[in-house]
């Protein structure tokens, strides 16, 4: 029996290839996501293992404050005297003070910043020859000499090569610190850790006094202290020994703690990527399961006679069902294997992509764990088996007598269960959506409703699809005569199959439409917000995700014709015990460039007053004058609420701290944005030229007027949507393959009928257009259902997210109409192969075939 099953499978390779494709894509996304995140994890872990000293002393809770990643630094310093103190502790072999900055970028010979855009840090440190916990040097000089005196520096070899610098060249650096632009001579190159892998970060090293002068304002102090043991103590014992000698406000951590902290941070930052990929894996698997269900239904229908023969020869129902399941198992196995290979390809592609945006993983080999293989096979095989189960069970119900009948048809199970089930699901889903939108239940409730409606409509598709197909094909008879009538009837005669085929396209298009509506609404909302709430003439921003030097604002303000230059900062602080992103600006000045509405209190915060939004104030029960606990690197303090702001569409943060509080809180001064207003009557060209001159030395800092700023905002939304479209496009391709598959098999099934039509005089051309029209009817049905659902989902999501930056609803009508036209085109394309096949059929054989 197994033998006969496998033979039959081999004989029908082509149709299996198409359904396997869906599994391949799904599994590729799953395994690609695993392989890639494992690779990222392992290369970062490796780096930290090779570069963390035995014990690190740092200001207490430094990690917590920098977890948000805005500046990653802490202005609190460790006095140089601690180095001497620690050197005398038992078990200590070597102590080194560390001066470190994460925002020093290297400008290449061509004037472009190395590794911009990806968020990999530009690290600057004092040159310290101390070893890592594994005993190997953290940095090794590979050419040249150690830096001595101001104006000399080392650079990691890869960055030097990329930037085009050789020893003796004058190197240009830009920083977010007090000295925004630095020039120095390259005296040597280094290797970082053992592998030299900086995952896209850049590294420059200078001698300690120079680093202290540039980054610590000349203080004889350090950001951290690295302690190396003499081997008599374990690292955790050494940590305890060091801790005993520390003054208040400092803490000691061993290499394992550093590794754990970093691992958590990396895992969090990778969650986004893996979630993204897994969502698309889910989409292609769901779409794919429709395709598999359909393929197997048709294969079973086609093999009815053969299956009946098996039954007549003594095969039990279960044997027949099992034979179909074995087929599905093999298909799942093959699909998973190929998908796994594609997954590695995908991971390689992602690696390359990350290289382009500045996170260089080229030195990391792909990490491939058994877990990945296991999950890939489990997902691929289980989905295929699930999708094939219904057709397989139906195969078991083929009566043996069908072996002797000419027109054997599978018994159709009742459509009533589907109708009732689908109707109930759709109603429940719709109720959930309405509830979430009117009474407020959050996105998860809405998402649940959307999912229920999705499945419900997919179940209902055979019922609601029929009238829609009738409507779509209404013009066929008039336009195409008999051919049109036949096409319409063919599309209507097996509503389940038509619906299942169209459902695959429906899912893809529903998601695409949802994204189109959301994307268009987001862009319209951004435009609206900028138009109404932003009154600044210019916006200065940084091309990299990091902030820029706070020294720029006063220089811009000094340009003749500039009326005001107001810096805006984002940073992380604890608000009422919870880590939050907070904004910081001079509220009075800021209100001149961005519309702010004060509900109560005033914008005069002084050096210690908070502004909070009414949303946050209402939630927490705060009033003007109440005190709120704020945690910053230097410690906790309570700050009074000076004013409560109406929710602003521009300002996303709920809490605003005065700039003076950040300075005393130990957060390094660096600006996220700078809003600039021209003086009335000032010459636009002259002011623009003046500001451009200030920024000339800083290639990443860009000046934009309102229009350019809005355009760049729109462009970044477009980029995101383009990526999502590309991935959803795969789902649509799977759906198209589904249509090809269904048509090809329907043609085969109707061999006799096709032969008859040809025998009574239908031309090949007419036959082809009949099949093409049927295909168009199916694909337009999918498009209509999908776009309809997508519109509902998109609009509901926009409504639900109107408090989060998508206030304006904008439906891209032209784009949606294009989708319908494209769907019709897809139908024509999908019909090419099946139509040709039908047309080529020999008339006589077609009518005599059994």
């Amino acid at each position: 029996m197994l033998h006969a099953t496998l033979k039959s499978l081999l004989a029908h390779k082509l149709r299996m290839v198409m359904s396997t494709f869906a599994i391949v894509l799904g599994v590729a996304f799953v395994s690609g996501s695993f392989v890639f995140t494992d690779t990222m994890n392992s290369s970062f872990t490796e780096i930290f293992r090779q570069t963390a000293p035995d014990v690190t002393v740092r200001p207490a809770h430094a990690q917590a404050a920098s977890a948000g990643g805005f500046t990653g630094a802490d202005t609190r310093l460790i006095p140089a005297s601690l180095v001497t103190t620690l050197a005398t502790r038992p078990g200590v072999a070597q102590v080194g003070g560390v001066v470190s900055d994460q925002g020093t970028l290297v400008v290449g010979k061509n004037g472009k910043v190395i590794s911009s855009g990806g968020g990999a840090p530009g690290i600057a440190q004092n040159y310290d020859s101390g070893p890592a916990a594994d005993g190997s040097p953290i940095v090794t000089i590979t050419s040249g000499t150690a830096p001595a005196g101001p104006g000399q520096l080392l650079m990691d070899g890869k960055t030097a090569a990329t930037a085009g610098y050789v020893l003796g060249d004058t190197v240009h650096l830009v920083t977010s610190g007090a000295t925004p632009s630095i020039t120095a001579t390259l005296v040597g190159t280094v290797r970082f850790g053992q592998s030299g892998n900086l995952v896209g970060a850049t590294l420059v090293l200078m001698d300690t006094p120079t680093a202290q002068r540039l980054y610590l304002g000349g203080a004889d102090a350090f950001n951290a202290v690295a302690v190396t043991g003499d081997g008599s103590l374990t690292n955790s014992q050494l940590r305890d020994e060091v801790t005993a000698a520390l003054p208040a406000g400092l803490e000691a951590v061993d290499d394992q703690q550093i590794a754990n902290e970093n691992q958590t941070a990396i895992a969090e930052s990778l969650t986004f990527i893996s979630t993204f990929l897994l969502v698309f894996a889910a989409v292609s698997l769901v779409v794919g399961s429709f395709l598999i269900l359909n393929t197997f239904s048709i294969v079973v229908a086609q093999r009815t006679k053969e299956l009946a023969l098996f039954r007549a020869l003594g095969a039990s129902r279960r044997q027949v069902t099992r034979s179909v399941m074995v087929e599905a198992f093999v298909v799942g196995l093959v699909g998973s294997t190929v998908g796994l290979l594609f997954g590695f390809g995908l991971a390689l592609g992602l690696k390359a992509l990350f290289g382009v945006i500045g996170i260089d993983l080229s030195q990391a080999g792909l990490v491939f764990q058994w877990r990945t293989v296991f999950v890939a096979y489990a997902v691929g095989v289980v989905i295929t088996l699930l999708a094939a189960y219904l057709p397989a069970r139906r195969a078991g119900t083929v009566p043996p007598i069908a072996a002797m009948q000419d027109d054997a048809a599978l018994p159709e199970s009742s459509i009533r269960f589907r109708t009732v089930g689908g109707g109930v699901l759709t109603a429940v889903g719709a109720a959930l959506m309405v509830w979430a939108l009117t009474l407020g239940g959050g996105l998860s409730l809405l998402g649940g409703g959307v999912l229920a409606v999705f499945v419900g409509v997919a179940l209902l598709a055979p019922v609601i699809g029929r009238p829609i197909v009738t409507a779509i094909a209404a013009g066929f008879p008039r336009l195409f005569g008999t051919v049109g009538v036949l096409a319409r009837e063919n599309a209507r005669r097996n509503p389940r199959r038509t619906a299942a085929t169209a459902s695959a396209l429906m899912i893809g298009l529903a998601l695409v439409t949802t994204m189109a509506v959301l994307g268009q609404s987001t862009k319209a909302s951004v435009d609206e917000i900028l138009r109404t709430d932003l009154s600044a003439d210019y916006i200065v921003s940084n091309a990299t995700p990091s902030p820029f030097s706070a020294t720029i604002a006063p220089k811009v303000a000094a340009v003749p014709g500039v009326a005001a230059a107001v810096p805006f900062r984002l940073t992380v602080a604890g608000v009422d015990g919870k880590q939050s992103t907070v904004a910081s600006f001079d509220a009075v000045a800021f209100s001149k460039v961005v519309a702010l509405t004060v509900n109560s209190g005033s914008l005069n915060t002084g050096a210690n007053g908070l502004l909070v939004t009414s949303t946050r104030a209402d939630a927490a029960g705060w009033k003007v004058g109440d005190s709120v606990k704020i945690d910053m690197p230097t410690g906790s303090r309570t700050m009074p609420i000076a004013g409560i702001l109406a929710p602003s569409r521009f300002l996303r943060e709920d809490v605003v701290l005065p700039p003076a509080a950040l300075a005393t809180g130990g957060i390094p001064p660096a600006d996220t944005l700078l809003f600039v207003n021209r003086a009335p009557g000032a010459d636009t060209a002259a002011v623009t030229a003046g500001i451009t001159k200030v920024l000339a030395d800083l290639p990443t800092v860009t000046l934009q007027d309102q229009n350019a700023y809005a355009a760049s905002n729109r462009a970044s939304i477009d980029r995101l949507i383009a990526i999502i479209y590309a991935l959803l496009g795969l789902a649509v391709i799977i759906a198209v393959l589904g249509i090809v598959n269904t048509l090809a098999l329907s043609v085969l099934e109707r061999t006799r009928e096709v032969g008859l039509l040809r025998a009574v005089g239908m031309s090949r051309r007419q036959l082809r257009s009949m099949i093409r029209l049927e295909s168009v009817a199916i694909s337009v049905l999918g498009a209509v259902l999908g776009i309809g659902l997508g519109l509902i989902f998109g609009i509901s999501l926009q409504r639900a997210m109107s408090g989060q930056g998508i206030e304006v609803l904008s439906v891209p009508t032209v784009q949606l109409l294009t989708f319908v036209v494209l769907a019709a085109l897809v139908g024509v394309l999908a019909a090419v192969f099946p139509a040709r096949r039908a047309a080529r059929m020999d008339v006589l054989r077609a009518i005599t075939t059994q």
Binding site: L10, A315, Q850
Partner: protein, 264 residues
Amino acid sequence: MSVSTLPVPAPTRPAVAAARTVDLHKVYGSGDTALAALDGVSVEFGHGQFTAIMGPSGSGKSTLLHCLAALDDATSGQVFIGEAELTTLGDKQLTLIRRDKIGFVFQAYNLVPTLTAMENITLPMDIAGRTPDAKWLKAVIGALGLADRLDHKPSQLSGGQQQRVACARALTSRPEIIFADEPTGNLDSVASAEVLAFLRRSVREFGQTVVMVTHDPAAAGYADRVLFLADGRIVDEMTDPTADRVLDKMKSFDTTTAHSGAVS
């Protein structure tokens, strides 16, 4: 090949007939459109006998065969294969009866196109999960002259060869009874003669029981006994028939029915 060299299975010969029906009725449709395909058929098929069922189109001969072969269920009455009463059995037991007691030869051969001749022959054993008796298999293949065609796919075989493969398939599992539904319907006279000769030989030499539906008097001439069906009833019977006698009977039968039809 002589009788003495054939590894004839020792046939068990219970007292009961290989197959029989008692007052078998089969009605298609209901109400006004109801059509009685079988109208009270009681008949026995003895062991080691080659029986042909004849009758004009619509006489119910195929329906009788399908009911006997556990392919179709009766409306009322009883069907027995050996001692098993099919009408009381569920799908699982019917499956086992089909698998272990019954062999089939179809008009359209019904070979699995993806399997070779050999694989088609052993398919019932394959389904049952049994290993075919190699000696017996060889004997059957030899008797059918298929030894050099075993690796061919059905599409590479002539109609006669395909039907011989189907005969071999029916015989390898040594069923109690073989049902053949118009086995020569798609064959020319030479190929028909080969297949029929083999069916007769399987009865004479191997002790097989064969029930064959046909409308061809020449085919019926190979049988030990011919049953004549008309309008769902057995109207006549003939033992040791020849093609000519069957033809004469059919002619007289035609005039009788025509006459009776005119009277009623």
